[in-house]
């Protein structure tokens, strides 16, 4: 097997078709993870220890076991569970599987953001007689979320690189197209190289952008502390 530039040029448009599916799936999984992340934060703030403890361990369990196995669980095992089992299409299974996995990471980001809000802010909102909803909506979250934006951005890039796992349950995105092409013409290296290049093309500039965002936020905080 030798490297062929003809094959390389030929597969670019084929793989390109899968690029949008990969990007779309990344965004869908990410939105799910962003929203579901609040669920864990909420559960960890219920003022009853056993519930706290239970959900902390469930999150830890999901975070430290392989997303690939979780994907298989949702796609292959879920339909076989009596009563609650339903057959999911690969897209929905991927969004649920990767979304839930990464929600345990986003929840940690939210938690660190919430913990970084000054204690005086909580006390002040209690003193001002704000309701719980008002306190979160107007005081805590507006301060807790913006500093975490670079971290959340990093997770978007990490998730983008985990999305090809979905090809194992039959989502026809870049990696799947590359493997199909390989199986058909017995040319694997060229299509896989194209896939890798597309990943690099999207993730490297995004990483640079997030690096700049990080610097910007840090600078803002530096300024704040300097003028205090």
């Amino acid at each position: 097997m030798t490297w062929s530039w003809d094959v390389f040029i030929n597969v670019i448009p084929i793989i390109f078709k899968g690029l949008w599916i990969t990007v779309g799936l990344t965004i869908a999984c990410y939105l799910f993870a962003m929203i579901f992340g609040f669920f864990w934060v909420f559960m960890s703030r219920i003022p009853w220890r056993p519930v706290n403890w239970l959900f902390r361990w469930i999150a830890e369990f999901i975070r430290s076991t392989p997303p690939l196995v979780q994907l298989f669980f949702i796609y292959y095992a879920w339909p076989a569970i009596p009563v609650i089992g339903v057959t999911l299409n690969p897209f929905v299974a991927a969004i649920l599987g990767l979304g839930i996995h990464f929600s345990t990471y986003t929840s940690e980001v939210y938690r660190s953001g919430i913990e970084s809000v000054d204690k005086g802010q909580w006390e002040a909102s209690t003193a001002l007689n704000l309701s719980t909803a008002q306190k979160w909506r107007h005081i805590i979250l507006p301060q807790a979320i913006p500093p975490t934006i670079p971290m959340l951005g990093n997770y978007l890039i990490i998730m983008f690189k985990e999305v090809p796992l979905a090809s194992t349950i039959g989502v026809v995105a870049m990696l799947h197209l590359a493997n199909d092409y390989g199986a058909q013409y017995y040319k694997y290296v060229e299509p896989l190289t194209v896939v890798a290049l597309f990943f690099l093309l999207l993730s490297y500039p995004s990483a640079l952008l997030i690096g700049r965002l990080e610097k910007k936020y840090n600078r803002r905080f530096d300024k704040k502390t300097a003028t205090l």
Partner: protein, 219 residues
């Protein structure tokens, strides 16, 4: 009983999972140390080369790299490593070595400048300075992040079944394909086994977080 039967079946694969895990941890740590040190070394060529390596491997996806290596090594470069285990170990190690080299670099750069100046004043050679002053202090700072990456490597070992290695997940998939109704039990046991393997790593990470915080003077 089904559970014992499934567990016995899975036990046949745990050896491969553990071998890949241990070898990947060793090799990726070595790569991370070398690449991390190269990036802070004052040599443009070396820094440029390792920077290129790190960006390539961090910018593409591990699963793509794994497939790429398993086809390109024997096909394109005619390199035969004897066993697919080595292909998997190489792909995982190069990938996580790139990520972890960033924590090595970050930790070394975060050692206060005064330490370098003091060791120059004490007339230590550049090697002695790294070996006795900078690295021992940097290692303590990188340990919690390192622990986190060990858990990531454990999770990554589940991918090796995709290139045909007979690991935990491989035997699980075989069992599932013949006992469709038992799929929930099979995957739940696999997840629990991975979690059991992760527990010591989680404990290590928590402990190191405490170690890294203890007795550090910031300035």
């Amino acid at each position: 009983m089904a559970i014992t039967e499934i567990t016995l079946m899975l036990m046949r694969g745990i050896k491969v999972t553990l071998i890949v895990l241990v070898l990947s941890i060793i090799l990726s740590s070595l790569i991370a140390l070398i690449a991390g040190l190269s990036r802070v070394y004052h040599n443009k060529l070396l820094t440029g080369f390792t920077g290129f390596y790190v960006e390539i491997f961090r910018g593409t996806s591990l699963i793509v790299q794994l497939f790429w290596f398993s086809y390109a090594l024997p096909g394109l470069f005619n390199i035969h490593l004897g066993s697919d285990i080595w292909v998997a170990v190489l792909a995982i190690s190069l990938n996580y070595g790139a990520y972890m080299s960033e924590i090595v670099r970050g930790a070394i750069l975060s050692v206060p400048q005064g330490q370098t100046e003091a060791s120059i004043a004490l007339n230590l050679t550049r090697f002695q300075r790294m070996r006795h002053i900078i690295v021992p202090q940097a290692i303590r700072m990188m340990l919690p992040e390192y622990g986190n990456y060990l858990i990531q490597i454990l999770k990554a070992t589940s991918l090796v079944s995709l290139i045909g290695l007979t690991d935990l997940l491989y035997y699980g998939n075989i069992y599932r394909s013949t006992h469709l109704t038992e799929a929930p039990t099979v995957y739940m046991i696999i997840l629990l086994l991975y979690f059991l393997l992760a527990l010591p790593l989680i404990g290590f990470t928590r402990k190191m977080e405490k170690v890294a915080k203890k007795g550090v003077v910031h300035g």
